[in-house]
Amino acid sequence: MDWSKLVKHVSDLALVDLQKGEVEPLIRDLEKIVRMINAVNELKISDDVEPLYTTFFGDVNLRDDVEVGEPTNIKDVCAVKERIEGGYIRSPRTL
């Protein structure tokens, strides 16, 4: 198991970088944790067991198609006022 490669791949996917000193300890911890979660592989489960994705068993709430509530003022949300330009939110380039 090439852990460094794995960590690099996953940190690119999740856009979470690690400092130089963080990688080794993380890999050690990951090895332990992955071993722990691999325990599920011990279990033989027949194909017709339905996965359980939620423990909510009531009537799912639905909304009527009517406007509700006041629109949010973006200035209340974005603490850094400099980020708002003409009502838009500044973001880094995408190309």
Binding site: V7, L13, A14, L15, L26, M36, I45, E50, T55, F56
Partner: protein, 482 residues
């Protein structure tokens, strides 16, 4: 029995406070002064809070409450709210640098309900960052100490809420529980903490960690307080698709000193086997004996699948966490970073690397891993299937039994630094609490006794919507302790 920080007035329960305030409205101001005195004296050590509202603001709220003649069931109670529950206009940080300056523009549904019921938000409590942890040592700011022994942890992730309540720095508190985060700190601080049936309490406004497991619940010094709080915060919320449409029960009516029913109680063997501290077992066994003296029956049952709860929990929780935390990129709120001249991937990486602590990063990376191409079936899908089996095992169990008991934690509250360096050690604190969240069942922790001057918690859990019975049995245990 209370830790040394408490005084007579500051240790009042909700009902007692409410009665006194009804008799003499001015008493509310004296009460508030007293609680702030406790905070002034002890908070610098305990560090249970991240934000404490100013006394002036709280007194003003009290005045408005009294003027409106609406002290409600909470009677002016001071509520410590875990810092992952949105409070409009009050900083909500989740104990993370990522949200250090984030002020929500809206109240969580439970906060609105509290305020409407005569409660006053006193402050926001410390926690493990984004609720990931079991000792509150993962807070990005500072750890909270256990009021019973300042060299020990109060548990987590709702450690601040539990410590504040235990030390009488609040009347009662709200916490959140994904794998034991209310029950564990309640056990370690000698308080009562309840995790409701999944869907009973609205999650709208709770900053999500693992959406299919998270629930908000009350922590109090008394079983009755927890019952009163549960009644206030539960109920259908149209803003939460996973909110049950059930009538709110009068939970207070279950808090009586005798058993409402001759409960048949189960103890799952795997929850009391080796690995459980001898002192913890002693308290637990004594509790069982005392319950039997009421005429309740206790029987031991095997449930082998429960051994897989920890891996299943961590697969599901980490996967969902990696997804729920994807939104933190610093554009719209929270920790920000210069955007000019850079690509978005670069900026996001910097923000997320600076804003998240180690445990959070660990879980995001692992969660991303288990969901990634080719691994979904082996991990998430498989875990979901085991979850189904576990769920059905519990359903079977509760056809035969009314309730079940276990020690909340296999050990006494650890010292600071003792478990935090070894992730598996840390995760194992939750071994008895985690299966409950997987099945969406209600559970509470109530102090069963003490060992070496430290509280020992007993976990009581049952089938869907059995909170009333849980509170009843908890009351029996509380009475027995007295």
């Amino acid at each position: 029995m209370f830790p040394p920080q408490c005084s007579h007035i500051s240790s009042l329960g909700i009902a007692a406070l409410r009665e006194k305030v009804k008799e003499d409205p001015d008493f509310l101001f004296r009460y508030i002064e007293e609680v702030y005195k406790v905070i002034e004296r002890h908070e610098h050590q305990l560090r249970a809070y991240i934000t404490v509202r100013s006394k002036e603001d709280v007194l003003r709220d009290a005045e408005a409450l009294l003027k409106a003649g609406n002290i409600g069931p909470l009677g002016g109670a001071l509520i410590a709210v875990k810092d992952n529950i949105s409070t409009s206009g009050i900083r909500t940080t989740c104990a993370s640098r990522m949200l250090e300056s984030y002020i929500p523009p809206y109240d969580a549904t439970v906060v609105t309900k509290l305020k409407n019921a005569g409660g006053i938000v006193l402050g926001k409590t410390n926690m493990d960052e984004f609720a990931m942890g079991s000792t509150t040592e993962n807070s990005a700011f500072y750890p909270t100490l256990n009021p019973w022994d300042l060299s020990r942890v109060p548990g987590g992730s709702s450690g601040g809420s539990a410590a504040a309540v235990a030390a009488c720095e609040a009347t009662v508190a709200l916490g959140s529980d994904t794998g034991g985060s209310i029950r564990l700190p309640a056990a370690y601080t000698g308080t009562v903490g309840l995790k409701p049936t999944y869907g009973l309490v609205s999650r709208y406004g709770l900053v999500a960690y693992a959406s299919s497991l998270d629930q908000i619940g009350p922590i109090g010094r008394y079983v009755e307080d927890v019952a009163i709080m549960l009644e206030v915060i539960s109920g259908h919320d149209p803003r939460d698709s996973t909110s049950l449409k059930v009538a709110v029960k009068d939970y207070g009516s279950y808090v009586v000193d005798g058993p409402i029913k001759m409960y048949r109680i189960a103890v799952i063997e795997e929850m009391v086997e080796e690995g459980v501290d001898r002192d913890v077992m002693a308290v637990f066994n004594k509790t069982l004996e005392k319950l039997e003296s009421y005429g309740l029956t206790v029987e031991f049952k095997k449930m082998p699948i429960i051994r897989y709860s920890l891996p299943v929990y961590y697969i599901i929780a980490m996967a969902e966490a990696s997804s729920n935390l994807a939104r933190y990129d610093g554009l719209r709120y929270g920790l920000t970073h210069e955007v000019e001249g850079k690509l978005w991937t670069e900026v996001y990486k910097r923000v997320r690397s600076m804003g998240f602590g180690n445990e959070v990063k660990r879980r995001i990376l692992l969660g991303t891993y288990v969901l990634s191409e080719g691994l979904y079936e082996g991990y998430y899908l498989k875990a979901a299937k085991v979850r189904r089996i576990l769920y059905e095992e519990f359903a079977k169990l509760f056809k035969e039994f009314d309730l079940a008991l276990s020690p909340t934690s296999p050990i006494l509250p650890p010292r600071l630094g003792e478990v935090i360096d070894d992730p598996l050690k840390l995760y194992s604190l939750d071994v008895n609490t985690v299966p409950i969240n997987l099945a969406g069942l209600p559970a509470l922790s109530v102090p069963g006794g003490y060992a070496h001057g430290l509280p020992v918690g007993v976990q009581v859990f049952g089938p869907h919507l059995s909170e009333g019975w849980l509170l009843n049995v908890a009351r029996l245990i509380e009475v027995m302790r007295e």
